[in-house]
């Protein structure tokens, strides 16, 4: 295995990990506030479609990403309305969102299929850092701005979650909404905001696929990434910093599943990320309490003031 091979693999793993990272960061916030959103796949595909359609129409990738974010927020707020306000089952609502999103994006995207985006999001070269041998071409060339923004965002979101009052509010709403409520924290508002942030980031993650990574629109182009995001959220122990290496690890798996096609049949390679997702969760189950991922205490439970 020569060095060039390694360099390009790491570089592509970073690029492929970006939508996973953004999506996972969003889901971490939603789940930290106590709301599971299984609609990530749906929000991502809607974001991918909206991003492509808007960027193609308006001729600028920035508008595309903005539209992707907006669509993600709308979808997520709908989920929040059903699960927080109407207290519907979170699993089923998320599944419905995924079914609906995949269907709607497929329906609307029919006419856009197969055409390349006129104005894809450009890649950047980080000045001077790109000059470093090996590491330079690995990490600082051929990435879009979203790679670095994603990592920065992970750090910011970690600080907010673990070092600020807002973070305490979010975590306490997820652990014990009744306690948070009695301390004067508005459970409903916190949950809406966190779920909406989740949608925003998932939307951008989807938009990245169609505006930057591919850049084109294909039906079902998220190919189960939304579900990998759900697994990564657990894998990262609901910690934004751990999401970084988790996302890039799975980015590498996705990339290798294309890369190794010369040696193994492509269909078997493509199942690798999904098999790994189960494996990783199973292995962390072996390790006993120290390794066990502990979910927020009230994850998945709707909050009704005065009950229980």
């Amino acid at each position: 295995m020569d060095l060039g091979w390694l360099v390009s693999t790491v570089s592509r793993a970073l690029a492929f990990g970006v939508p996973l990272l953004w999506g996972t960061l969003g889901e971490i916030y939603a789940e930290r506030s106590g709301v599971v959103n299984l609609g990530v796949e749906g929000m991502m595909i809607l974001g991918a479609y909206a991003g492509f359609a808007v960027a193609q129409t308006l001729g600028h990738p920035g508008w595309g990403l903005l539209a992707a974010a907006a669509v993600g927020v709308v979808a997520a707020v709908w989920h929040a309305f059903l699960t927080v306000t109407l207290r519907a089952n979170q699993y089923v609502s998320g599944l419905a969102l995924t079914l609906f999103g995949l269907g709607l994006a497929g329906l609307l995207g029919r006419g856009w299929e197969g055409r390349p985006l006129r104005v894809p999001l450009g890649t950047i070269t980080v000045p001077s850092l790109a000059e470093i041998p090996v590491l330079g071409p690995m990490l600082f060339v051929d990435q879009t701005i979203l790679t670095y923004l994603g990592i920065l965002l992970a750090v910011v979101l970690w600080v907010v979650l673990f070092r600020t009052r807002w973070g305490i509010a979010i975590r306490s709403v997820g652990e014990s909404p009744a306690t948070a409520d009695s301390l004067g924290i508005n459970v409903t508002v916190v949950r809406y905001l966190c779920v909406a942030l989740g949608g925003l980031l998932a939307g951008v993650g989807g938009g990245y696929l169609s505006v930057a990574y591919r850049p084109s629109w294909t039906e079902g182009m998220t190919a189960g990434m939304g579900w990998i995001v759900i697994a990564l959220t657990i894998f990262a122990s609901w910690d934004p910093l751990q999401a970084i290496w988790g996302a890039f690890f799975f980015g590498a798996l996705y990339h290798l599943s294309f890369r190794l096609q010369a040696y193994v049949s492509p269909e078997l390679l493509k199942l690798m990320p999904y098999a790994f997702a189960i494996l990783v969760l199973a292995v962390s189950g072996f390790g006993g309490a120290r390794w066990r991922r502990r979910a927020p205490g009230s994850l998945g439970v709707p909050y009704v003031r005065g009950e229980r």
Partner: protein, 363 residues
């Protein structure tokens, strides 16, 4: 209890049956109205669309038989899911379990030397076994290693879909199929009989109806059914009572996955007569079955009816593609909308609105 104008809104703990039924019907109607908006946005008159659907599906023998053919896999998957959901085990993996059954049945049909008379029964048996095996893995992962079953079952759908792709592109690719990714055609002894003039493979339909009755009996009349319900409704009580989660969840998933797999056997042996790419074998029956089971409120018998409803939606999807030029993805939109309005209506069932009685205190 809340007062809104002259009405009193109060909580009720167990909604009576007619309310459940009424609210469910209402939810479906609301979803159809929302779908009308989608039609309208797509430049198709909703009136015309629904009229075409009504005429083309319910109005003709072909249409009716198409509904039933689509409902067969939905019944089998949906009945299995009611059992898993009663145990609060989120089996999202019916799609993969269905495909596992299709693979096992195709293997028996093409490669196992057995007398002709035994071939079909053996296909059903092997299918059930494969689906049960595939489904019991997430149950064990959850009990032994705390792996969330939503993720494991979902991931296993993707894994099984790629295994099928691999088989039809690679080792099982039929030598007589030239460039296409199919296996060879099944021998005649491995094909299910159809009701003349339709594509309804009646043996699978029979199996589905019997399965619904049997699962209904299991739930209401057996120890396993009782334990499934306790595990689902009150895990703590189940733990105190010494109920083994391993045994209960494993058995529930053996049945749930096995039945979904029988749906796969029916599709390859009754419709396609070969193994082909997963999107052709299933078109998302396993996912739609989640809605089937949910709309049936956990009752396997009711799942037969709700499966027919979604059979109608699939048949309508076919029809809209051919007569109105709408893409098939519209069924996904339909299904999502129905599921949305269904869960939002849940709240309605648990609240009762009535007139304030004369002289009743304002509270």
């Amino acid at each position: 209890m809340k007062r809104i104008g002259p009405f009193i809104v109060e909580r009720r703990l167990a909604p009576p049956r007619h309310v459940v039924f009424g609210v469910s019907v209402l939810a479906v109607v609301v979803a159809l109205l929302l779908a009308a908006l989608v039609f309208w946005a797509y430049g198709v008159s909703p009136w015309r669309a629904y009229a075409e659907i009504g005429r083309g599906t319910l109005g003709t023998v072909d249409g009716l038989s198409d509904i039933v053919r689509r409902a067969i896999p939905l019944i089998l998957c949906g009945v299995g899911l009611t059992l898993a959901f009663r145990a609060q085990f989120w089996n999202i993996g019916a799609e993969g379990q269905l495909l596992a059954g299709a693979v096992a049945a195709s293997g028996v049909a093409l490669f196992v030397p057995v007398p002709d008379g035994l071939r079909l029964p053996l296909m059903f048996l092997a299918g059930f076994g494969a689906g049960a095996l595939w489904a019991v893995i997430p149950a064990l992962l959850r009990v032994k290693l705390q792996v969330n079953e939503v993720i494991s079952t979902l991931m296993m759908n993707y894994i099984m879909a790629y295994i099928v792709e691999w088989l039809v592109h690679g080792p099982w690719k039929g030598p007589t199929m030239r460039g296409f990714a199919y296996t060879d055609m099944f021998p005649t002894a491995a094909r299910l009989p159809l009701i003349a003039g339709t594509r309804v493979h009646w043996p699978t339909l029979g199996v589905g109806v019997v399965a619904a009755l049997v699962v209904g009996l299991i739930l209401s009349r057996t120890r396993l059914g009782y334990e499934v319900r306790v595990v689902g409704q009150s895990p703590d009580a189940a733990r105190y009572a010494g109920i083994s989660f391993t045994v209960v969840l494993s058995l529930a998933m053996v049945i749930s996955g096995g039945l979904a797999a029988l749906a796969g056997v029916g599709e390859v042996a009754g419709i396609h007569w070969r193994l082909r790419s997963p999107s052709h074998i299933s078109m998302g029956y396993g996912y739609t079955a989640i809605i089937v089971a949910w709309l049936a409120r956990g009752s396997p018998i009711a799942a037969i009816l709700t499966a027919l409803l979604f059979g109608l939606i699939f048949a309508a999807g076919d029809l809209m593609k051919t007569t109105l030029g709408l893409p098939f993805q519209i069924t996904g939109v339909f299904n999502g909308l129905i599921l949305f309005s269904l869960i939002s209506s849940d709240l309605l069932m648990y609240w009762r609105i009535r007139w304030r009685r004369r002289g009743e205190a304002w509270t």
